[in-house]
């Protein structure tokens, strides 16, 4: 290194958060004795505008070329301090964060001396690393201003139309021969009770008529390459292969109803699913004459029977169909055997009350004692264990309807591998963060919506469709994406092309390619998130993680085990 190292250290009191435990002045004094440190000070709040000004003026005044801040946590504050260095003309990656709040004052709240000693150790380590930091640049790359939406159910149609209305071109890809998804098979919709057919008609028309939506029916995805801003999607459209270049991708592939093979005497005729009932109602081929009693069984296959989860929509759906049957033929007895009833929110609770008023009978069973279906004298009988009477109530039934949960499509696994996005334990697509990022995948540029993410009703599927459209519009409208500066790089002279790195990278950022020297790993910068997984698994140590290089980390570790006296002297 030719340039003289001039490190500045800023230690934060964080009010009393750190200062109440750690002896901050002592840490400052200690820091100023460390090698290459030309300046050290303390701030009440380093992140306040005053603290930030102090960093900037110290950079100028003392010609600092490395900055170390010891304070709360990089998770919330690193971007701020990096930006401050940048404002003062210093490369933002010549900044090192030392966490003395979470790691000192919080965990050693009752041992202030140890907390102070540890703070000194961590500062010493931070300074050692700072001395070896290298300037880094963030990469930017252009975005192709169009999107692909996979699945033309109501959520995918909504997403596609909204992106188109936002001004961008959309390819809507559907494996079936028509748009509409599961709703094509339904009769009427709760809570409005409008016909599914009419509901779809106007919405399909709006998508078809929009100049910026290109529809690909009877199409399946064969392969996906690339990364945010530059995806290449290979399609098989009616037997013809097509290649589409887009900026981002939305997964809206929906879900299907669980087929209750082997449960509750299911036969598809007298014991059917809700979807089969809807199809009968839609085609008007439910022979109501022979029916006196209908029994619906909730949670059939759900909540611990086949799948663990509650499917959210089947209670309301049963209530809807029960109510429709009852209203059309008040003489038919309709029972719903249920455990909990998911009549959540504003409208559904009222709808549930309406069904009660219409004469639908509700019977509650404990989850440990689910109903049983048996045949007696050629008749179907459903035994429902009565929660209060503590005995089975036999209900004769001419038709048994099983409310089975929504489950993931079988081909979702293939799609998840092609896109390199995960499925959760429930087999639904797994979003980036359960609370904060409901329609994003962890991989940039890929989003999800509708029942592909988990069971939900139409309103929520539409809400997520719009949400995914908003998230997908962002890179398209910006026109560029910027990526991390902290990424990995491969030393081709050392790499032997074994491919371990490729197999461990969760973002698909490393690939082994043929070069003139033979097979070598190659990193795609904008895909890399800097997680370091590849680097730690390379047996040849051919991968260098910027900002966490072997050189930097080893220096940091070495100094960790040196006592204070040795360093000072």
């Amino acid at each position: 290194m030719t340039e003289e190292l001039r490190i500045g250290v800023f230690i934060c009191h964080c009010g009393i958060n750190i200062g109440g435990v750690v002896d901050v002045p002592a840490v400052v004094e200690y820091a100023s004795t460390l090698e290459n440190v030309v300046y050290a000070e303390r701030n009440l709040y380093t992140c306040s505008s005053e603290g930030l000004e102090a960093i900037k003026s110290a950079i100028h005044e003392h010609e600092l070329n490395r900055v170390v801040v010891a304070s709360c946590t990089p998770r919330t504050h690193e971007p701020l301090f990096r930006a401050t260095c940048k404002e003062a003309g210093l490369n933002p990656y010549l900044f090192e964060f030392v966490n003395i709040r979470d790691q000192c004052s919080w965990v050693h709240m009752h041992e202030p001396e140890f907390a102070t000693e540890k703070a000194k150790d961590l500062v010493r380590m931070g300074v050692a690393k700072a001395a070896r930091l290298e300037p880094l640049e963030e990469l930017t790359s252009d975005v192709i201003p169009s999107a692909v939406v996979i699945g033309a159910g109501i959520s995918g149609m909504t997403a596609a139309l909204s992106i188109a209305k936002n001004g961008f071109y959309v390819h809507l890809i559907e494996k079936g021969s028509e748009m509409g998804g599961l709703l094509r098979r339904l009769y009427k919709l709760y809570p409005t009770e409008e016909l599914a057919k009419e509901f779809l008609e106007q919405r399909i028309k709006a998508v078809e008529e929009h100049e910026r939506v290109e529809l690909h029916l009877s199409s399946s995805i064969k392969d996906v390459e690339g990364y945010v801003g530059k995806f290449k999607v290979i399609l098989d459209e009616n037997g013809v292969e097509k290649s589409i270049d887009v900026g981002d991708i939305i997964v809206a592939t929906g879900a299907k109803e669980l087929e209750p093979e082997g449960l509750y005497e299911y036969d598809g005729e007298k014991v059917i699913t809700q979807l089969q009932l809807e199809e009968k109602l839609r085609r008007e081929d439910l022979n109501r004459n022979g029916i006196e009693n209908v029994v619906m069984i909730q949670c059939a296959g759900a909540r611990g029977e086949v799948v663990k989860y509650c499917s959210k929509i089947c209670c309301m759906n049963a209530i809807k169909n029960a109510k429709l049957i009852k209203e059309a033929n008040p003489d038919i007895n309709v029972f719903i055997a249920h455990n909990e009833l998911q009549a959540y929110g504003e409208e559904y609770e009222l709808y549930y009350r309406d069904a009660k008023k219409a004469g639908v009978r509700f019977l509650r069973f404990p989850l440990e004692k689910r109903p049983k279906v048996r045949k007696s004298d050629g008749k179907l009988v459903v035994d429902v264990f009565h929660e209060r009477l503590l005995m089975d109530i036999p209900l004769e039934a001419d038709l048994v309807v099983l409310s089975t949960p929504l489950v993931q499509n079988p081909d979702a696994e293939k799609l998840s591998k092609m896109l390199k996005v995960p499925l959760g334990q429930d087999r639904f697509f797994f979003e980036a963060h359960v609370k904060l990022r409901p329609v994003d995948f962890a991989t940039d540029g890929i989003f999800l919506c509708g029942t592909a993410q988990g069971p939900k009703d139409i309103e929520e599927s539409i809400s997520q469709g719009y949400a995914a459209a908003s998230r997908a519009t962002i890179p398209l409208a910006k026109g560029y994406v910027s990526s991390e500066a902290i990424i990995s790089s491969v030393d081709e002279a050392i790499c032997v092309g074994c491919g371990i790195c490729e197999s461990v990278c969760p973002y698909g950022a490393v690939e082994v390619v043929e070069t003139e020297e033979g097979r070598r790993a190659k990193v795609t910068g904008v895909k890399c998130k800097g997680c370091g997984t590849c680097g730690s698994s390379c047996i040849k140590r051919a991968i260098k993680m910027q900002h966490y290089t072997d050189d930097q980390l080893i220096a940091q570790e070495r100094t960790a085990f040196v006592t204070e006296r040795e360093v000072v002297s």
Partner: protein
């Protein structure tokens, strides 16, 4: 280009998400928040179901991202007072109330708060903690700018003397500012129902009958008791019961709706109680357990199987106080029996109702509310469209929903606003 902006009213999770998406897409946003800080109700929570993520820890970076975004102007302590115009060109008047502190000068050091002799109950802590007259509502408040509570302040002058930044302004006047925007998103959230009127629960009569939002503050490590679940007399709570649907699913006050989140927040609060004190006994008295979201059933299973939370079906008729501050809950698990449960704390999962002032705001905006004062949708399957073109709605103020649903709804409203601003392809009729 001044009119290529969007106004977002309410800085809870839903409003912040909407603002952030728009700003990232290059659209300028004015975010108007009524209180001193963005964050909304989520900032008051301890953890969040079903992952038990610390609420403020995951929210604070989002609050900062919003506040620091070059395309977002955050106006706190502000309210919309008038709008004119129509979709594509609204003119909005915003009242900026006084903080009595110069926003550009204050660096949030808190010296003023330390010298102020006043003691005032902090609303953010559900009145369970005292703050001074110069204050921020909570540590992670964004922006980190203090304010004086001039209703209570006796103008002793101490803060003015101590403030090293010369930021105190006793005579600051409120201001009206105007902004031109193409679209508006309303995201003003909810308030918890005050259960004093439902006398059978004894709220206000017995010290240790509290609301769920009060409980969230109690169990929060940064809250008034440092995270200790204690009774008003300082004793540790050993047996604690949650009562569900308090004032909700109740036709008495025309609140028949289900609030959608309380079954799960009670489950969460019971789990957290057990994590703090595995010896504690926890009971949840409910009518129907609403565990419909992603991972919720699994969460309830964990509460029962791993933590031993007891779910009891039955709606309490009455709560009575006994000696030693024991509370007796009378409930009927079946129609012909009445059972009794003795506990030392009762948490009421109260109904969540539209925010105070919702009617006045709806009037200003010219949008309709439904029977329960949630923002009415023009089309039930168009979940962010209000009855007025160009005005969209997000989050709990449209209908009950939990945090991830509020966030998706916030993004959804953003896309509708993008259609207006970016696409220009809007239909003036709707």
């Amino acid at each position: 280009m001044e009119d290529k902006a969007v106004l977002v009213i309410g800085g809870g999770v839903a409003g912040m998400q909407a603002a952030f998406d728009l700003a990232e897409a290059g659209i300028r946003v004015c975010l108007v928040e009524r209180t001193l800080s963005v964050g909304g109700r989520m900032a008051q929570l301890d953890k969040t179901f079903p992952t038990n993520d610390c609420a403020i820890c995951i929210l604070a970076p989002k609050m900062m991202d919003c506040y620091r975004h070059e395309n977002i102007e955050v106006l706190t302590l502000s309210e919309v007072t008038a709008i004119e115009g129509e979709i594509g060109s609204f003119k909005v008047k915003i009242l900026r109330k006084s903080r009595f502190v110069d926003e550009d000068k204050c660096n949030g050091c808190g010296d003023c708060a330390r010298v102020c002799p006043m003691g005032i109950l902090n609303k953010f802590d559900m009145d369970l903690r005292v703050r001074s007259g110069a204050y921020i509502p909570f540590m992670q408040a964004v922006p980190l700018i203090y304010a004086l509570d001039r209703d209570k302040c006796m103008r002793c002058g101490l803060c003015e003397v101590i403030c090293g930044k010369d930021a105190i302004r006793y005579n600051q006047k409120p201001e009206i500012v105007e902004r031109n925007v193409s679209a508006i998103i309303v995201a003003i959230g909810f308030d918890p129902l005050d259960p004093s009127g439902l006398t059978e629960y004894g709220y206000g009569k017995y010290d240790d009958v509290i609301t769920a939002l009060e409980f969230e503050r109690l169990i929060c490590a940064a809250g008034p008791t440092g995270g200790h679940v204690i009774r008003r007399d300082g004793k540790e709570v050993k047996r604690i019961a949650w009562i569900q649907c308090v004032g909700a699913r109740d036709t008495r006050d025309n609140r028949p709706y289900c609030c959608s989140v309380c079954c799960m927040h009670a489950t969460k609060e019971a789990i957290l109680t057990k994590e703090h004190n595995p010896e504690a006994e926890t009971f949840i008295l409910y009518t129907d357990l609403r565990c419909f979201g992603k991972g919720f059933q699994e969460y309830v299973n964990r509460a029962e199987d791993d933590y031993g939370v007891k779910y009891i079906r039955g709606k309490p008729g009455e709560i009575k106080g006994k000696e030693n501050k024991i509370l007796e809950i009378f409930y009927s698990p079946s129609s012909d029996k009445v059972e009794k449960l003795e506990v030392d704390m009762v948490v009421l999962s109260t109904a969540l109702i539209p925010s105070e002032g919702v009617e006045a705001l709806a009037e200003i905006l010219g949008t309709e509310l439904d029977e329960y004062k949630f923002f009415k949708l023009k089309d039930p399957y168009n979940p962010t469209g209000t009855t007025r073109a160009g005005i969209f709605v997000a989050g709990y103020c449209q209908a009950p929903r939990d945090i991830p649903e509020c966030i998706a709804h916030g993004s959804a409203a953003a896309s509708r606003a993008m259609e207006v601003v970016l696409g220009g392809s809007y239909d003036r009729r709707a």
